[in-house]
Amino acid sequence: MRILSAIIENPKEYIHFADREPGEVVIFLLRKHPITNLPWIITTFVLLVLPTILNYVLKVSGIALPEQFGLVTNFIFYLFAAIYSFESFLIWYYNVYIVTDKRLIDIDFYGFFYKKVSETQFNKIEDTTYSQSGCLKYYLIMEMFFFKLPQSKMSLNL
C-alpha cells in the first residue's frame, strides 16, 4: 500500500512524470493524508445506501411505481455514485508534490477538466512557512507548507 501513502521517499512505483530531466532523481512524492478521503467515502456510502432507503420508504407508503422506473433510477444513481467516488479518488491521488534533487513540482488535479502544474528551482525559494491548525491535523501530524517565490510573488502551497 506504499503507492497510496502520503509521504513516499525515493519512489520506485512512480515510473515517470512530465518534463523529467535526464538524471533527475525523485527524492520525495507527497500528497494529502489518506484520512482526507473520509468525507467523499462517507458521501459515497450514503449515495449507495440512499436508493435502498428510498425504495423502502416508497414501499411502506404504498406508492407503486412501475418496475422498470425503479430499476433504471437505481442504476443511474449507482453510476453517479461510481463517477463521484472515482473522480474524488483521482483528485486525491493525482494532487501530488514531487521533490527532486533539482526542483519542486506541484501537480494540482482539480477534476476531469482542470489541472495545473507549477514548478520551481530550489534557489528561487525565498521563504518557507509552515502552519498546523485543528485538533485532527495535530493528531495526524498534518501540516501546511508555504514556499514564497520572489519574482512571481506566488506562493506554492505544499
Binding site: F69, I76, Y93, I107, K115
Partner: protein, 79 residues
C-alpha cells in the same frame, strides 16, 4: 371516469418523460466514461504510476456498465 382517464394519461406522459430523461442522462454518462478513459491517459503522461492499469480497468468497467444500462433503458422505454 373522465378524471381517472385523464390521471392515467398524465401518469403515462410523466413516465415517458422520465424514460427519455433517463436515456439522455445515461448517454451523457457514456460520453463521460469516454472522457475518464482519455483523462487517465493524460494523467499517466503527467505522472506515470503502476496504478494506471488498475484505474484504466475501472474506467473501462464503468464505460461497459454505462453502455449496458443505456441500451437496457432504450429497450425498456422505447417500444
Amino acid at each position: 371516469m373522465m378524471d381517472k382517464e385523464l390521471t392515467d394519461q398524465v401518469y403515462k406522459i410523466i413516465l415517458n418523460m422520465f424514460g427519455y430523461m433517463a436515456i439522455a442522462l445515461l448517454f451523457v454518462e457514456v460520453l463521460f466514461a469516454g472522457v475518464i478513459i482519455k483523462q487517465i491517459d493524460l494523467l499517466h503522461q503527467l505522472l506515470g504510476t503502476k496504478l494506471t492499469p488498475f484505474l484504466k480497468f475501472f474506467a473501462y468497467l464503468f464505460l461497459a456498465g454505462s453502455i449496458i444500462i443505456f441500451l437496457y433503458s432504450i429497450t425498456l422505454f422505447i417500444k
